[in-house]
Symmetry: C2
Subunit: 188 residues, 2 copies
């Protein structure tokens, strides 16, 4: 019930300018060859304005994917997330044109690390709620999960093996939850 703080109109404009510019650039150039200078030039904002909102080029990438990664991270929780996952997979599939440019170079690692971070938070919550202390460090497990989730999605998007978005959603739901349950096997 927290009052949602409306961002200043200028911030909204600046952020959408930057996001739009970034997406447009990714349509044409690979992530690695895009410079911050290109983004601010296309967005028509000052350099200092960019750094007021993002730490780096990686940051704008990760930030713009955070909504998507959240869905993946939540899939380890006991609740049913099939609908969200299906929607996500369909979105990925529709925008698979981006995949070669986004998941080729350094961006791949950035995205996975961001996902791992998001997963780690949720893992810790799960441990807490189950009154269990982890035997393997949580950050390692989070990274493992993140790689497992992303690698198959990336392979799928790059056309290394074809199946439906439904199948992918179901597979990720099942494997994620299974891996996670295994962590708490002692509990039972």
């Amino acid at each position: 019930m927290t009052e949602v703080e409306q961002a200043d109109r200028r911030i909204q404009k600046t952020l959408s300018s930057l996001q739009d510019a970034f997406f447009e650039l990714v349509l044409t150039y690979s992530y690695d060859e895009i410079k911050v200078s290109d983004i601010i030039k296309k967005a028509n904002v000052g350099r200092s304005t960019f750094y007021q909102h993002y730490k780096s080029k990686d940051d704008i990438l990760v930030t713009s994917m955070q909504g998507l990664l959240k869905v993946l991270a939540e899939s380890i929780e006991p609740e049913d997330r099939r609908d969200d996952l299906l929607e996500l997979m369909e979105h990925f599939w529709q925008n698979r044109q981006f995949a070669p440019r986004v998941f080729a170079g350094t961006a791949r690692r950035q995205v996975i690390m961001a996902l791992a971070e998001s997963l780690e938070i949720r893992l810790k919550k799960l441990y807490k709620s189950q009154f269990i202390s982890p035997t393997i460090p949580t950050n390692l497990v989070a990274h493992q999960l993140a790689e497992a989730q992303m690698v198959i999605i990336i392979d799928w998007l790059l056309g290394k093996g074809s199946c439906s978005a439904e199948a992918m959603a179901k597979h990720i739901e099942q494997t994620s939850k299974a891996m996670c349950k295994a962590l708490f096997v002692n509990k039972y």
Copy 2:
């Protein structure tokens, strides 16, 4: 050769937002029913921002037409302006859809007064260059000229009589210069 002062990037964005919003509104609504509030809402800028750039709704109208009116005002000068006038008439004709909404209500008067003001400046220069002092007050003559120029253009745009843009350009060139020469008839 004066260094052209580049406006701040924010000003450019704000002005084009406001101009764009204004034009879009004129496409749908008549000038008189458009509120300042509508313009700033569509442009997505704050109220105080609007008034930082324009005195009123009339001001944004007149400002956005000033480039066009300049061509008309200059047509009283001895120099050949046929090309500029032709271009202007073709522009008017292409955008004649605006005419009923722009030249119907109070806007008509605003535009004519702005044109008169522009004409008055040029008239005074002409008097000065000819070493003649006006017998009829310059503002009256300017208003007369403005009405003469605009009324035929408006009638034309509203479809009250049809002819080519070329014919209109030629007619305005001739009549404007003729009226103006008549002011200096004693000189010869």
